[in-house]
């Protein structure tokens, strides 16, 4: 992992609408954006960022790159990520929503073989408050501190970051593993990273219905995490079988999932409770639970 202000960052799809919007915001936050890549736009400059047609053209000019943040259209994302891996980049943030899951399967096979970290897709990426922004987290909700915030959604994460900030609880990192069914990095991976991170004292895990990431996380926390963890799960009242907006936030009852009730909010909350992890029933209860975990005075107690 290398998420420091001096690590070199590339933006793929820098000439696409979302990329063009966020490239200057990342730069303004202090991220060391060394180059952008957009085929057909090579030779141009955008907010002082030099644009190349291909990553391998950029490298001789800007040197080895640590992280790429990808904003290309969904059907071009697999190729962009493979281009990055072929160019030796080992940290990939996939912001784009709507990447076909089988493209992700191909990408993850390659990422595993090359030990590449893939965050996302359908993710606002990573923010280290006050230091570096690798994605689209809005800066105004975050403040530096000791809470490691990991989640599967965008705006809900900002909401919770804001609740924490307003309660005087800054964040060591905000990271979203992505709202799709098939995503790269997992909750357990980030739990391990934050457990080892010296700036993180407590972890807030924001889950949602669909899949079994939260169940896996609960199990992993019980087994391997020493720092306190607070959990929240969105979607208790979500109707079954309905796509909520996240491709991953859906409860399926198909035989293919082997009939089990994994994926419901109850299943996830029960898993956390069994692992003795405090679960906030409402987002605004999270700061108090964090304070309790840190043995700080709480609003109500």
């Amino acid at each position: 992992m290398n998420f420091t202000p001096d690590s070199k960052v590339l933006i793929q799809g820098v000439a696409e609408p979302l990329g063009a919007t966020y490239a200057p915001l990342m730069q303004a936050y202090g991220t060391n954006v060394v180059a952008g890549v957009s085929p057909g736009h090579g030779g141009k400059t955008q907010h002082g960022i030099p644009i190349f047609d291909l990553i391998e053209q950029a490298l001789p000019v800007v040197g080895a790159v640590d992280t790429t943040v990808i904003f290309v259209p969904p059907y071009a994302a697999l190729d962009a990520a493979l281009e990055a891996i072929a160019a030796g980049i080992r940290q990939i943030v996939l912001v784009t929503e709507g990447i076909p899951p089988l493209d992700m399967v191909s990408l993850l096979r390659k990422a595993e073989a090359t030990e590449t970290l893939v965050v996302g897709p359908n993710s606002p990426g990573i923010i280290v408050p006050g230091q570096v922004l690798l994605g689209i987290h809005p800066e105004e909700f975050y403040t530096p501190g000791a809470v490691g915030l990991i989640s599967r959604s965008g705006t809900l994460t900002y909401e919770i970051a804001l609740e924490l900030t307003q309660a005087g609880l800054g964040q060591s990192i905000g990271v979203c593993i992505g709202g799709d069914a098939i995503v790269g990095s997992s909750f357990p991976q980030w739990l391990q990273i934050l457990d080892e991170d010296e700036n993180t004292e407590v972890i807030v895990l924001v889950g949602e219905i669909g899949g079994d990431s939260e169940e896996a996380a609960a199990h992993y926390i019980a087994e391997a995490i020493d720092k306190p963890v607070i959990a929240y799960v969105a979607g208790r009242t979500a109707p079954k079988g309905r796509r909520m907006g996240h491709a991953g936030a859906i409860i399926n009852s198909q035989i293919a999932e082997l009939g089990s009730e994994v994926g419901t909010a109850d299943s996830k909350i029960n898993a956390f409770r069994r692992a003795k992890i405090p679960v906030a029933d409402r987002p605004w209860q999270i700061p108090d639970l964090v304070k309790k975990a840190l043995k700080l005075p709480t609003r109500k107690g």
Binding site: T21, S123, S153, G154, E159, L162, E163, G211, R242, G259
Partner: protein, 399 residues
């Protein structure tokens, strides 16, 4: 999105998976032009499972019986769903029935092959006997043979079943599917295999790159479950609250909080997160305008909670959309003959009370702007939820 059995079988046929001769029946009288020899099976084409147990599958021996049976099936609701189409298919004498599927497993981020020697309608037995093989690297037919052996097959059935699995996997990858299922796969006394029923779930995100699937789906029912919600989604028929948020997680969290506070959501609408590659910096404004229009048209909504967390667009600009909408909507200039006293009353009555909570930059400007249309800007989600539920209760009391 699911395909109907007859659509799945069209894809099976193209891929070389054996299916019986069959014919699509749009009206009972189509059966007079049947080219398949009797006896024939008529099957209700619905998205929901379990049609066999409630009379959605019938064997017929001649045209008269077939037309009568078709009429019955067209008028038979399967768990609330009426078929638009039937499938007439040749009868098959299966000696045994297997279950086979290829499905994407999200926990391990890999496709998985599933199989059981106990397929058919007894799902519980199939489940208990289910074997699976994870396709961890690029697929090769040995994965299919591995499943066939785990299923306990021997001799020539190993090859014939694994060949079907191979073709199912090819279909799965070529068409970017979430699920390909054959249940049952009929095994004849002589060891021939035949896909007797099939289910395919296409992936919404991949659909646009498969013109043939897009064409198939265009013929399908857009109201079926799993369809992407770009319109308000109904929750409780006696609810009074509408919820409009940006982002799936925020929408769910808001809806949960409303319910936990004793409110009854009628509909919700997620106007979209921020990860769309082609979104302009002001996309949220356009989506809000469109979303407001949709929510207002949902008569049941008496209180509308707007909860937006905005990174790019300042709150003041969001507030401007809301105030402009309110102003336009209420004072929309109309030609004289359009204005009837009834329509004016109905219009006024129907307009829901707004609870607006915005987070982002320029909140004070937003607050002032919203005050011009008598809408207070609420600061915390907790207060917005409390306020919404309180107003909804008042509405119920007043009605």
């Amino acid at each position: 999105m699911d395909l109907l059995e007859y659509q799945a079988k069209e894809l099976f046929r193209e891929m070389g998976i054996p299916v019986l001769p069959s014919q699509r029946i749009d009206r009972p009288k189509d059966l007079k032009g049947l080219t398949i020899p009797y006896p024939v099976v008529l099957k209700s084409q619905v998205y929901i499972g379990g049609r066999g147990r409630v009379g959605g599958v019938r064997f017929v021996e001649n045209t008269i019986d077939a037309v009568a049976a078709a009429q019955t099936i067209f008028n038979l609701s399967i768990m609330g769903e009426y078929p638009k189409v039937l499938l007439a298919e040749a009868k098959y004498n299966a000696d045994r029935e297997f279950y086979l599927a290829v499905v994407l497993n999200r926990s391990i981020c890999r496709p998985v092959l599933l199989g059981s020697q106990h397929g058919g309608i007894d799902v519980q037995t199939a489940l208990e006997q289910m074997q699976h093989v994870v396709v961890d690297q690029d697929f090769s037919p040995f994965y299919a043979r591995r499943l066939a052996l785990k299923m306990g097959l021997q001799g020539s059935l190993i090859e014939s079943v694994s060949t079907i699995l191979e073709k199912m996997y090819q279909l799965f990858v070529q068409k970017d599917l979430d699920l390909v299922e054959i249940n049952p796969l009929g095994i004849s006394a002589s060891g021939e295999v035949m896909a007797l029923d099939g289910k395919i779930t296409v992936n919404d995100d991949a659909l646009a790159r498969h013109p043939t699937l897009t064409a198939l789906v265009a013929r399908s029912d857009p109201g079926q479950p799993g369809h992407l919600a770009d319109a308000p989604v109904a929750i409780e028929s006696d609810g009074q609250i509408g919820i409009l948020c940006n982002g799936a997680g925020l929408t769910m969290a808001t809806m949960d909080a409303i319910a936990q506070a004793g409110g009854k959501p009628a509909v919700f609408l997620n106007i979209g997160g921020e990860m769309q590659w082609d979104a302009s910096p002001t996309a949220l404004r356009d989506r809000l305008e469109h979303g407001l229009e949709q929510m207002i048209q949902t008569k049941q909504v008496r209180v509308l909670l707007i909860n937006l967390v905005s990174g790019l667009v300042p709150c003041d600009e969001i507030a401007a959309v809301i105030t402009a909408y309110l102003t336009n909507r209420i004072r929309k200039p109309r030609s004289i003959n359009e204005i009837s006293p009834e329509s004016l009353i109905a219009h006024t009555l129907r307009f829901p009370q707004l609870v607006v909570r915005l987070v982002g930059r320029d909140r004070e400007a937003a607050r002032s702007r919203l005050e011009t249309v008598q809408v207070p800007l609420i600061d915390s989600l907790e207060d917005a939820v409390t306020q919404t539920v309180m107003l909804a209760r008042a509405t119920v009391r007043n009605s």
